[in-house]
């Protein structure tokens, strides 16, 4: 049985019930999506050269979105809890720096000098492979057991980052992130700079478009996976492993595969982190820093707030978790909020921690489907939770699967 490579029988005897949609609603969605995309594309123009800080913030949200999408596939779709995301972020960042690094830069650092695009792909593949190496664990454990086991990777990353300083640059000052370039076009400042509507397209604007391309690619790949056979096998494994096996799903392989794919997404987010910080530097401790436990929890919060398993939800979650604190900080600077926080009291950091902490509590209490469920309701596509959907083995849990 387990030897078979036959794809799982797809029980799509009837097409899924057409969403309770009127043509008007569909158009509304299409127009809204288009407007949203145009806003994203024109964001550098909207914020102008004076608002680079907000652009930097938006880039940061995209990093969270790419990583969050990867994690929501794993946690929400395949039902495997993982806290190892920061480790794969670190592998992606270091992998990119090593593959694209200038071999002449320093005698102490390994750099292969590959073209940046090749290095990005290489870093993603590397993360996938590292994820695969964890597959014997990922394939056998589930739930909280896997969560705790995966946590060990964060500690492993801390130790490796500190020990292998020919790759990571060491905790002292790290190493520079190689500048991204595509066919000779560098994602760095240049003179003269091209302009859009009078706004100079310099390094940060260019990075924004690069990140946007990465994020859109991740988004559509993830949507594709969720809506395809892969997604169905994930959900089958999540809901009932025995039932999935009886339908011909190779449970261990599917679980390992989900881990690999999620790791690859995290790897891309790691590359983006390196480009965003202009720096690859392992953390000094396991609790705070770019690849720390705090980040593991932040990604989990992204997934929970967004709605487990929902790809658009992960994007909304990333906006809240990754964007909010920095937005408060920028606002407090620009508009003088929390000005009296010099010696203790409410600062932007504290307030944003409250907001995102309470967002999690509120979501869990009142809308376990997260932002995705709220969005679905707003768009009038809410399916009755009691109606078993046709494609996932008659599960009666609401929501999330294919949005």
């Amino acid at each position: 049985m387990s030897e078979t490579l036959t794809p799982p029988a797809t029980p799509t005897t009837t097409p899924p019930p057409a969403p309770a949609s009127t043509p008007g609603r569909n158009w509304l969605k299409i127009v809204a999506t288009a407007v949203f995309l145009v806003v994203l594309l024109l964001l550098p123009v909207i914020v102008g050269n004076g608002g680079v800080a907000y652009l930097k913030l938006a880039q940061y949200i995209l990093i969270g979105a790419v990583g969050g999408i990867g994690l929501t596939l794993l946690v929400g779709q395949a039902g495997q809890l993982s806290l190892a995301h920061p480790f794969f972020l670190l592998v992606g960042a270091v992998g990119y720096a090593v593959l694209a690094g200038d071999p002449e830069e320093s005698d102490d650092l390994v750099g292969l000098g590959l073209p940046p695009l090749v290095a990005v792909i290489g870093a993603i593949v590397l993360c996938g492979l590292v994820g695969l190496a964890f597959a014997p664990v990922a394939g056998r454990l589930r739930g909280i057991y896997l969560g705790v086991a995966s946590l060990s990777l964060v500690f492993l990353g801390l130790w490796l980052g500190q020990s292998l300083d020919m790759f990571s640059g060491g905790t002292s000052s790290g190493r520079n992130a190689p500048v991204f370039a595509l066919f000779g076009f560098e994602f760095a400042n240049s003179t003269p700079a091209p302009t859009i509507a009078g706004v100079a397209i310099q390094k940060q604007q260019r990075l924004w478009y690069l990140f946007l391309a990465f994020a859109l690619m991740s988004y559509f790949l993830a949507r594709g996976a969720v809506n395809s056979r892969i997604g169905r096998s994930w959900r089958a494994v999540r809901d009932n492993e025995a039932a999935a096996t009886s339908m011909g799903v190779h449970v261990t392989r599917v679980k390992a595969g989900a881990f690999v794919i999620s790791s690859a997404f995290a790897g891309l987010a790691g590359v983006m982190t390196a480009l965003w910080l202009d720096l690859v530097k392992p953390d000094e401790n396991e609790f705070t820093g770019t690849y720390s436990l705090t980040v593991a929890i932040a990604f989990l919060a992204v997934v929970i707030i967004g709605g487990l398993g929902s790809v658009p939800g992960a994007v909304v979650g990333a906006t809240l978790v990754f964007g909010l604190q920095q937005f408060f900080l920028l606002g407090s600077q620009q508009f003088g909020w929390f000005a009296d926080a010099q010696f203790g009291g409410f600062s932007a950091v504290v307030v944003s921690a409250f907001v995102y902490g309470s967002a999690i509590v509120l979501v869990i209490l009142f809308e376990p489907g997260g932002m995705a469920a709220i969005g679905r309701r707003l768009l009038g596509r809410r399916r009755s939770p009691d109606v078993p959907s046709t494609d996932d083995g008659g599960r009666t849990t609401p929501r999330e699967d294919r949005s």
């Binding site: 288009a34 905790t171 002292s172 790290g174 720096l279 530097k281 900080l329 010099q342 600062s347």
Partner: protein, 424 residues
């Protein structure tokens, strides 16, 4: 129907992409560069108007260094107030714009572009992770910054204006002091507990150098900044027969190490770098064990009898009666004083642009801060501007918790030490 919807969406995406490309093709302009001439015939670019000079602080008032950070900010502001009361610099008033990054590099990275266009330079940039992340920006923007982080590893960047000496030299001088006092001798074994990273690694360089000179054996123990119980390590050091322990740690870890030092009956002198001590430790159960701690720092302690230090702390107590009293206040004030020297030199040269300020720094060979730190020499890039330190011992009965036990001095070992990026 779904296919049709997809097609429609793809068309819209394609359309949006095309329109943005069209906009992109609209034009190409060169960025304007170079300064303009302002009041008094002085060249200016960013952060300077005819009436004000704006400097930035990227500090920490909500993260792990919030006590020190608040003290530093207050010290910077006291300096600015003093300067403005005395008529300003170059006919302009000094203004300080503060942002709080909470000791997080990612937050700092977002906040930096908001602050950067408004300021001439950074009067204070706190935190080594933050400094590492912002280094490319500082170089790109030709910005001069005084770090509140004293590693000699950052001196490869000519935009870093080190105020005082570096961690490695603090340790070299501190060990020399212990030896002068007869507390350690050639051939002894000493322990060094350090946080892995820029701070601890740099401190360790100092004890390694001193050990080479005097045939000491170092018992090294690497910790992360969140390890809070050092009892096991100190026990191991007792077993190794250490005659002294060097700490390059957080204040919490200092308390743990000293408590263990006393509880185990080891009672050896403990030498700490500047950031190892926080007066708040005197309110903890470890207070009675802290007397063995000697702190080596380039700035005068809060209770220093130095007249300038007394003037600053008196001013501070009047302005912020309820704020914690720590070494950050005098350090912050000193950062301001050095900036004052730089700005005055730049003004004299008629160039208050960013490039002009950086050039002015290299002309300074003896910045006098009236003894708050040793005389500073910025003429050789890559070398620490001074090598002198104060040694203070913990004493709960004085303000700020540290009593000065040795005035400013530079040991011969510190004179001969070659910093990582020092030329010659």
């Amino acid at each position: 129907m779904i296919a049709a919807r997809r097609a429609g969406r793809s068309a819209l995406i394609a359309g949006a992409l095309a329109s943005s490309l069209l906009l992109a093709a609209c034009g190409s302009t060169a960025d304007t560069a170079g300064g303009t001439e302002g009041a008094g015939g002085v060249i200016t670019d960013k952060g300077v108007t005819d009436t004000t000079i704006t400097l930035g602080i990227m500090g920490d008032t909500s993260g792990v260094f919030k006590n020190l950070g608040a003290g530093l900010n207050a010290g910077n502001q006291l300096w600015a107030d003093d300067v403005n009361a005395a008529g300003g610099i170059c006919g302009r008033q000094v203004e300080i714009e503060v942002v709080d990054h909470g000791y997080k590099a990612d937050v700092a990275k977002t906040l930096y572009p908001q602050l950067e266009p408004n300021v001439l330079g950074m009067v204070q940039l706190l935190g080594s992770p933050v400094l590492a992340a912002l280094e490319p920006n500082l170089i790109e923007d030709d910005m001069l910054a005084a770090p509140a982080s004293w590693s000699s590893e950052v001196l490869d960047n000519p935009g870093i204006m080190m105020i005082g000496t570096t961690y490695d030299l603090e340790v070299v001088n501190g060990l020399a002091y212990l030896q002068q006092q007869g507390l350690i001798a050639d051939g002894d074994t000493i322990g060094h507990i350090y946080i892995d990273g820029e701070y601890g690694g740099n401190g360790l360089k100092g004890s390694q150098y001193y050990a080479e000179q005097h045939g000491l054996t170092i018992n090294e123990a690497k910790v992360t900044s969140t390890d809070n119980d050092l009892t096991g390590i100190v026990t191991g050091m007792r077993g190794a027969g250490v005659k002294a322990i060097v700490l390059t740690t957080t204040p919490g870890q200092t308390a743990s190490a000293l408590a263990a030092n006393q509880a185990l009956g080891l009672n050896v002198p403990v030498l700490g770098n500047n950031p190892t001590f926080d007066p708040a430790l005197l309110d903890t159960p470890a207070a009675s064990a802290l007397g063995n701690l000697y702190v080596s720092a380039s700035n005068a302690p809060f209770s220093s009898p130095n007249p300038k230090a007394v003037e600053v702390t008196t001013e501070f107590k009047a302005a912020y009666p309820d704020a914690p009293r720590n070494a950050g206040i005098t350090t912050g004030y000193t950062e301001g004083l050095v900036w004052q020297n730089v700005l005055e030199a730049a003004c004299e040269a008629g160039d208050l642009s960013r490039a002009g300020v950086k050039t002015a720094l290299t002309t300074l060979t003896s910045v006098d801060t009236e003894g708050l730190v040793d005389v500073l020499d910025y003429s050789s890039p890559g070398a620490p501007p001074t090598r002198g330190v104060y040694i203070a011992q913990v004493d709960g009965s004085v303000e700020g918790g540290l009593r000065e036990v040795a005035p400013l001095f530079t040991s011969p070992e510190a004179e001969s030490y070659v910093a990582p990026f020092q030329e010659s």
